[in-house]
């Protein structure tokens, strides 16, 4: 079942993996909701997160911070956070902060799913 919160939605794909469709914005206005939602997923056993940025026009410093927070939670448990369908506004943030060194990027959600199999 797909859960929707604020403007992002979470779609389970395996027992320990989900796709988060980030939606139009991940910024200071909804980063706390993103953090709470992902913490809940981690508590329920999810370790791998595909972030789908295909619709995302805004990723700001607070939004990026909420992704770092998720990464800090799952990486000690051999979990992954990967980016898929990265829009240009998100790519500009990734390039500015050099976070491509941390988060693998895939052209599509399907390609990201394949990499996790």
């Amino acid at each position: 079942m797909q859960a929707t919160t604020m403007n992002f939605s979470i779609e389970p794909i395996t027992h320990d993996s989900v796709v988060i469709r980030v939606g139009k914005a991940l910024d200071f206005r909804n980063a706390a909701d993103f953090k709470a939602a992902t913490q809940e997923q981690v508590r329920s056993g999810i370790r791998n997160f595909i972030l789908d940025f295909s619709e995302t026009g805004i990723l700001d410093s607070t939004g990026l911070g909420s992704i770092f927070s998720l990464y800090r939670q799952v990486s000690p448990m051999s979990g992954q956070v990967v980016f898929a369908s990265v829009s240009r506004p998100v790519q500009v943030v990734v390039q500015l902060t050099r976070t491509y060194k941390v988060f693998r990027q895939f052209p599509t959600v399907e390609a990201a799913r394949e990499s996790m199999r």
């Binding site: 700001d60 410093s61 607070t62 240009r88 500009v92 500015l96 902060t97």
Partner: protein, 150 residues
């Protein structure tokens, strides 16, 4: 070359208004047509980070918030002036503190640093009319980087 001044008098919804403006400028093409798309997005990010900082942290005390945004295309650059009637804050001091406090994979404290990294030049001052004034440029000829510890 076309320039623009936009005025805002409320913080609620300001970010949405701002991005609607950018959407219009990008679709109409005139104001920012001298820049490539990555530079436009970098400029948009810089403006967003500053306005987000205003919305979240600025003290307007008893005053109704007033914010103006001037956008001035300049060759392969864009110059921007954002004025507001908040109490202001010591930007350089805050940037120094945030640089020192930056931990690996930080959750907060990156906004002003991101603005600083995205801009080629900035100056923050109090103008003659007592308003706080941030002026900065974003260049198409730079490869800016914010060094976040990983």
């Amino acid at each position: 070359m076309e320039t623009t001044r936009q005025s805002f008098n409320r913080l609620d919804g300001l970010i949405d208004e701002l991005h609607s403006l950018f959407d219009t400028w990008e679709s109409e093409g005139a104001l920012l047509s001298h820049l490539d798309e990555d530079t436009i997005q970098l400029f948009r990010l810089a403006v967003h980070e500053w306005v987000a900082n205003l919305v979240q942290h600025a003290r307007f005390d008893e005053k109704s918030p007033m914010v103006t945004l001037d956008v001035i295309p300049n060759g392969r650059r864009v110059r921007c002036i954002i004025e507001d009637n908040s109490a202001g804050f010591p930007l350089d001091e805050r940037l120094d503190l945030q640089r020192l406090a930056l931990k690996p994979f930080p959750e907060r404290g990156m906004g002003l640093l991101m603005l600083n990294a995205a801009t080629e030049y900035y100056e923050y001052s109090t103008s003659e009319n007592g308003r706080q004034r941030l002026e900065f440029t974003v260049s198409a000829d730079s490869d800016p980087c914010l060094n976040i510890p990983f």
